[in-house]
Symmetry: C2
Subunit: 432 residues, 2 copies
């Protein structure tokens, strides 16, 4: 049996133990992680320094180095996050609905953990702790694959988590780690052992997982987000929002990639917006927008059809003029990635139309697409953002790690009594 | 473009129209289906007679013929079911949760249809109408593939449904039909157009879909259900429940395939149970059970390891003795299919242990596994039974056809104001 295989079998066993554990034990494990991490702080920081030194030697991009670095401040933040997860109310084993099917025959739908999660994430050590904490809190088991750049840091953190699980009387295999791509390739084929895959990373990577596994995947491949500036937009708000959506953090999935602007307002809006961007953003505009920009002394390239379907993740923006809210909706539903899209308008009717018809996880009115984030949504920690429409949609927290089951309690009830000519009738009385 | 491709494109367009339709129009379409079916009754019955005659010529199995036949009684039942779906409260566009992120910045989670459903089902004309009605009610679009034996019936029914959609001002492409396997093969690869596949049929077929598509699948491949007769079981209830679970309808997925019996009660229970089965069920028993059965004059074969993982869908039952509730739980979680499993006991503690630890969609106490069914659960119509743990689990009704999205309403809010040293704090006030 391969390493991945063995770990998956152990994870399934650990899940069954976790699924019958009490919330007290699970919260105790979370408290112990904090203690263990405090105790091992020097060791963890040293491991991280080793990773960072190695990464510098390998010329890792500055952006990635920043993510990898476990500063004093980030270390405290992580402890804070674990406390935050621990403080959340227990959401396992709760009654979702209850129906009296017949006298003495009660059906109850209760929340349960999902099972074994396979989480694959970039080189952020905080991601490992965040996902592990959420998984423990909800009684799941998880197999983690972190970025190879963070290997030493991740191992030191994993030691703390597994000791904590042990200390709380829970199986340490409830959180496991694999460190090779081959292991991931195997895990995504183990349908009988893995219940959900959460891949975080590049679009290409997420797409690869989605196309190569028939296990459910929670994630987002593309983040092609739009803001539509309506004819009835407030100019000041529009400029402010569109600057934020494009520039506040252009490398992330919830940044704006395409700006749609009503043709009747384009002449007024585009020069103001271009001025606010102060030449920092490369513009690719359709014919009308291009003419307006050039006429008012701003530089831009001609956009092609391909631009509408491109996630730049950079200080580049495509601009398209549209005839109205209907065309904006049509464009977004055709070229968008069902992530987050906004309308900027003072017209309630146009806003309502847009909010109803745009088929995306987040549909915004007079707000920057950058708000699409689990923390900003008030979910505490986040396991990821989903652009799928099944199970969890948008920024997802604890709810993405929960399923449910039906408990039926009878007293010798059989179906034969409810069939045929003398069939008993069901009551179907809703109790909750 | 192939036929399947064209239909998928039309379905996606139709979905967008459905998603902005009102519940009045959708209910109107359901009312019109009833009218159209009444008007076309003679034509539909004639089409069905043609299918039945053809099927008889092709020596279709009696069981399947029975499913195919659209009797006067079944015709009325179908009309009744459509009325039932129509009567249900509208569940689209409902507020699931609401959070005030900050002053003037409100996040609302609302229920939405999923999108384009691809439903593949056996030769039951009532399935076509049931799935179409549920899909229209929830504002989805659906592409149907029915059993080829029912082709004429299905076409006649589809005519009524599409006329009804037109009559209600909704796109007739919200319900479409394909009739070839090749079309299905294409559809299950169209990730950008199909949001959910609901396959109903043989285990092998469902497994094929699950393994060959990366689109989410709602379904169950196997139905290996258990009843566990505990040491503390009431003999009368145990015999009654186990007869029902095995014999009331053995061809279906919620029938018992393996009986687990506590070794301390086996000597008492097995002869009584075998007597009640009256020789109608082929028994395959482990060594202990076999010895007991033989000693008391009943016939049985020796069970092999393979039997524990086999869905007979027939009057065959495997029997295994276990040392207690823990071993029963372990066996079920290892060999079961996460469908429906029950314990028969008068001991509350053993029941509680079983209900918590068995990882199946339905876990029962003193009731027959045959209750696992959308109608019996009080869900009205059912789109299918799911053995997956993502999105919908167990018998699934309207909830399986719904997703949600987040609406964020602001007044020029930008993320830059909530970052950095002078960051504004979020309120995160739960409004619902």
């Amino acid at each position: 049996m391969s390493e991945a295989n063995e770990k998956a079998v152990l994870a399934k066993k650990a899940f069954l133990a976790m699924s019958i554990s009490g919330s007290k034990e699970r919260d105790r494990a979370l408290a112990l992680i904090v203690l263990e991490m405090k105790k091992s702080k020097a060791k963890i920081i040293a491991a991280n320094e080793k990773d960072v030194a190695e990464a510098k030697k390998n010329n890792l991009a500055a952006q990635l180095l920043k993510r990898l670095l476990l500063s004093e401040e980030k270390f405290s933040e992580i402890l804070h996050e674990i406390e935050g997860v621990k403080k959340q109310p227990d959401s396992v084993g709760k009654t979702i609905s209850k129906t009296l099917l017949d006298k003495g025959l009660e059906l109850e739908q209760i929340s349960t953990p999902i099972g074994v999660i396979c989480a694959i994430f970039e080189s952020r050590p905080d991601a490992l702790v965040q996902i592990s904490s959420l998984s423990i809190k909800t009684g799941n088991a998880v197999i983690l694959k972190g970025g190879s750049e963070a290997l030493n840091t991740n191992r030191a953190l994993l030691d703390c988590i597994q000791s904590a699980l042990n200390g709380a009387g829970l199986p340490s295999e409830a959180v496991q780690f694999v460190d090779s791509r081959e292991a991931v390739q195997e895990l995504i084929k183990m349908n009988s052992h893995i219940d959900l895959i959460i891949p975080r990373g590049s679009s290409a990577f997420v797409k690869f997982i989605q196309e190569n596994s028939s296990i459910p995947v929670l994630g987002h491949s593309d983040g092609i987000c739009h803001e539509y500036v309506d004819e009835k937009a407030d100019m000041k708000k529009a400029v402010k929002i569109c600057v934020d959506a494009k520039c506040q953090y252009p490398a992330v999935c919830n940044a704006m990639e395409t700006l749609l602007v009503h043709e009747k307002i384009a002449e007024k809006f585009l020069p103001q917006y271009a001025k606010a961007l102060a030449g920092k953003v490369g513009l690719r505009a359709d014919e009308k927008a291009l003419a307006i920009l050039k006429k008012t002394g701003f530089d831009a390239k001609k956009a092609t059809e391909e631009d509408w379907a491109t996630e730049y993740n950079d200080l580049i923006l495509s601009i398209k003029t549209v005839k109205g809210v209907e065309e904006a909706i049509e464009h977004i539903n055709r070229f968008g990635s069902k992530h987050t899209d906004g309308i900027i308008t003072e017209d309630r009717k146009n806003a309502a139309k847009f909010l109803q018809a745009v088929d995306s996880a987040g549909v915004y009115w007079n707000a920057s697409t950058r708000f699409a984030d689990g923390y900003r949504y008030g979910k505490g920690a986040e396991v990821g953002i989903s652009t799928g429409k099944i199970h969890a949609r948008g920024p997802s927290g604890v709810e993405a790690l929960l399923s449910y089951k039906y408990l039926l309690k009878g007293n010798g009830h059989i179906v034969a009594d409810y069939s045929g000519k003398k069939a008993k009738k069901f009551l179907h009385k809703k109790l909750k």
